[in-house]
């Protein structure tokens, strides 16, 4: 008989990889265009979770776990990611763009993003408190079928679908539309792109909207998949280590590399956790997985998956 815990670890890895992948892909987009190691990225996910809760409150007049079930709060599910998009766009417009125009260095931008992270999270806490109160809520879930004792949830099926949709959508955007091509141009050579007349502000704005949207989508999916144990408004911050590990392993700024890296990290995290428990070691150690991934990547393959892919592909394309 196959081990129930192992099946669950695999299932969780797929869902976790999908949700973190969406967030990491969003960060990869904004990073590739704006070159900011954005600590506030997790809070775009949290903003979306907040909107998800807020919409439930608008519809039902109260916030309970049951009312947050994805099937009961469909409008919330559809609209919540836009809160991530808006939060990301506003932080670009009000914080990062003015700083860049004044010639801020990447380090200064990163420090600014830490400040933004703290401010945004505190703000979300305050409005959450006014709306919901001191309690933390956990959304209900929908079981679809059972596999050897493991409940497979609606969210476990939706998350990979969302990833597929994102991959197809972004691929089409980057290859078939003018603005997508402009994005690629801006990412590979900002000065030249500007010189040939690309509207940098418009392209960057779109990138931040898209990056925030993906973060929001990943955040809401993660929230309904595995709510954090302390407070819903901590979700983005709690996942940031995974997201940073994913974009580092993915090859800083590579959309598809970050997605692939997220799955690798999610599998590593869940399987290491599974093995640690099997041999009776503290499962806390599995939290070192994303950090070890970052270290190893920077030591041995600083270009990440994207770099390795390019290296593998180069001779074949040339030949």
């Amino acid at each position: 008989m196959v081990d129930e815990a192992l099946i669950r670890a695999v299932k969780d890895s797929i869902t976790m990889g999908s949700t973190i992948g969406l967030m990491a892909a969003g960060l990869a987009l904004t990073y590739s265009i704006s070159r900011i190691a954005n600590f506030a990225h997790g809070d775009y996910a949290t903003s979306a979770i907040f909107l998800y809760i807020f919409i439930s409150w608008l519809i039902f007049g109260e916030v309970t776990g049951d009312l947050l079930t994805p099937t009961r709060n469909v409008p919330g599910f559809l609209f919540a990611p836009f809160a991530g998009a808006v939060a990301a766009f506003l932080s670009y417009l009000l914080v990062f763009r003015p700083l860049k125009l004044r010639g801020a260095t990447p380090l200064q931008l990163m420090v600014a993003s830490i400040g933004l992270e703290l401010a945004l999270r505190a703000l979300l806490y305050i409005v959450y408190y006014v709306l919901v109160g001191a309690k933390a809520v956990t959304p209900g879930t929908v079981n679809v079928f059972q596999l050897a004792g493991v409940n497979v949830k609606l969210i476990d099926l939706l998350s990979p679908l969302a990833v597929i949709a994102a991959v197809v959508g972004v691929h089409l955007l980057l290859t078939k539309t003018l603005i997508g091509i402009s994005m690629r141009a801006l990412a590979s050579n900002p000065t030249l792109a500007e010189a040939v007349g690309i509207n940098v502000f418009r392209v960057e704005s779109l990138t931040w909207l898209l990056g925030g949207f993906l973060a929001g989508l990943g955040g809401v999916l993660y929230f309904t998949f595995r709510p954090v144990a302390t407070h819903p408004m901590e979700t983005g911050w709690a996942l940031l280590a995974f997201v940073f590990a994913a974009i580092t392993l993915g090859g800083l700024g590579s959309f598809f590399g970050s997605l692939a890296a997220s799955f690798i990290i999610a599998f590593a995290y869940n399987l290491v956790s599974y093995l640690l428990i099997q041999v009776g070691l503290p499962s806390d150690l599995s939290f070192s997985v994303p950090l070890i991934v970052v270290m190893l990547t920077l030591l041995f393959a600083p270009g990440g998956l994207a770099g390795l892919w390019a290296k593998w592909r180069a001779p074949r394309v040339a030949g």
Partner: protein, 492 residues
């Protein structure tokens, strides 16, 4: 040009900061008036200190006015209330203060009606939740000459004042400190059972239900570990197997508890593989508890095991858990312990009176009332001029006779703690926590709730008519003349 732009930016930044400050201040003002304890202290501190001084001045004024009265041989005894007026416990603290004041007011009224030559005067100080503040408060009260302090609310604050009150000989009665570390023979008493008692009650209960192995998932703090260790000690003794209990200790600040729950599942699986009949015990608070149950419902072996819990998870928040989590709890016959309060006419009457004044009897508010009652009765018994040691003895004596609104209050001379804390055993039914049985601490027996308080001779525990109680104390030469009809199993 650049200077002008810089000025403009500065101006905008300044405006933004001002707006933020106003918004935040507005928020705190609203929340402070409402029910947010954590944010309250910042804005409450000053007015509270001001009021306090004012109040103390008033009280001192009254005291001076009462000087002539003292010549008519009515003696005034000062009782200090050192409970949180600010800080994280401020909301409950305010109600605890009111309840204690109400107790003293009732005693004073009864004394006046009886023409007794004693009156009590209440002095208040703020303990916050901060040890430094608590000590300052205790010192202020000590200088004002209080004989007894009702306080503090938290074990942390209590441990800060414990040396001071012991050297000064000020009897201190805490309504709500539960840390086992403070159980000593000194001038400090506590009217609520400590965490060790609950661990023991749980051990007997789980053992009685026929289980011979337990996996515990417990949060890593003094409260959680206090209960878990006491449970382990008692349960392994009952079963006669050192390995009958295994613990998963989790960090309450951890974001993902799924691995810990899986660890728990493996422990239960191992016990089952070894042919044992295991159960789960969870010692957690609301949010982390919800997360644990939410993860546990996904794991088959945990769905097929019975779950027990400490009192800490039992709160109204539980009813807002997602339906499947509640369903899981019902399926695993989720049940646990909660400090028991026998229902008497006295307790019903006082509860109604307190509630009529808008004092919600939640948490430790009732214990605060009982602490003040014990203090007042002991002073009446020992006399207004008693030495600290006489007063200490009087408290121990009075406590044997006093059935308060939170139950039997007999104190243990060796520790100064409540000697026997009984525990209700509740079941989660899906929409309520139903108290079904009672763990009787004195005999380690578990009885049906209908037998609690157990029937004795003429009926249930004799309701205490308050005025009678005082008058009997006075008439009987400060000796208890009233007969408390006790539990048959108790040896009063």
């Amino acid at each position: 040009m650049a200077g002008a732009a810089g000025n403009k930016t500065l101006l905008i930044a300044g405006a933004v900061i001002v707006i933020l400050v106003i918004v935040v201040a507005g928020y705190f003002l609203f929340a402070g008036g409402g029910e947010q304890p954590a944010e309250a202290p910042a804005q409450e501190e000053q007015p509270a200190a001001g009021q306090q001084q004012e109040q103390q001045q008033q009280e001192q004024g009254q005291q001076q006015e009462q000087q002539p009265a003292q010549e008519q041989e009515v003696k005034t005894v000062k009782i200090g209330i050192l409970l949180p007026q600010s800080g994280a416990l401020a909301v409950e603290g305010q109600n605890m203060i009111k309840a204690a004041e109400y107790a003293i007011k009732k005693v004073n009224k009864a004394l006046e009606e009886q023409g007794a030559p004693i009156r009590f005067e209440v002095l208040k100080a703020d303990s916050g939740t901060d040890p430094v503040k608590a000590l300052e408060g205790a010192q202020t009260l000590g200088q004002q000459g209080v004989k007894v302090i009702i306080g503090t609310a938290s074990s942390r604050a209590l441990s800060a004042i414990i040396d001071y009150v012991n050297t000064q000989g000020i009897i201190t009665i805490s309504p709500s400190s539960t840390s086992p570390a403070l159980a000593k023979d000194d001038y400090v008493f506590r009217v609520v059972g400590n965490d060790r008692g609950q661990g023991k009650a749980l051990a007997f209960y789980v053992y009685n239900e026929g289980f011979d192995a337990v996996g515990i998932i417990v949060l890593n703090d003094p409260y959680g570990l206090g209960i878990a260790e006491a449970f382990k000690q008692n349960f392994t003794q009952l079963v006669g197997d050192e390995n009958a209990v295994q613990m998963v200790v989790y960090d309450p600040n951890k974001q993902d508890l799924a691995p810990e729950v899986q660890q728990l599942a493996n422990i239960i699986q191992e016990y089952k593989a070894a042919g044992k009949n295991p159960a789960v015990l969870i010692v957690a608070f609301e949010t982390d508890g919800l997360n644990i149950l939410n993860n546990a419902k996904e794991i088959q072996v945990l769905r097929e095991t019975r779950w027990f819990s400490s009192e800490s998870i039992r709160s109204s928040a539980f009813f807002e858990y997602p339906e499947e989590v509640k369903q899981f709890a019902v399926n695993v016959q989720f049940s646990g312990t909660f400090p028991a309060t026998p229902k008497t006419e006295f307790s019903d009457q006082i509860k109604a009176e307190l509630e009529a004044q808008g004092i919600a009897l939640e948490g430790f508010v009732g214990y605060s009332f009982d602490a003040a009652m014990l203090a007042a009765l002991a002073v009446i018994k020992a006399g207004p001029d008693a030495t600290p040691d006489q007063l200490k003895q009087a408290i121990l004596d009075v406590s044997k006779q006093y059935v308060g609104i939170t139950g039997f209050k007999e104190l243990d001379p060796a520790t100064g703690d409540l000697k026997y804390q009984d525990y209700f055993i509740w079941y989660f039914t899906g929409d309520a926590f139903e108290d079904r049985m009672v763990f009787i601490a004195q005999t380690n027996e578990i009885v049906d709730i209908a037998e609690y308080p157990p029937v004795s001779g003429q009926g249930k525990i004799t309701p205490l008519n308050f005025a009678d109680y005082i008058s009997q104390w006075l008439a009987g030469g400060m000796e208890p003349a009233i007969e408390v009809v006790a539990l048959p199993v108790r040896d009063f």
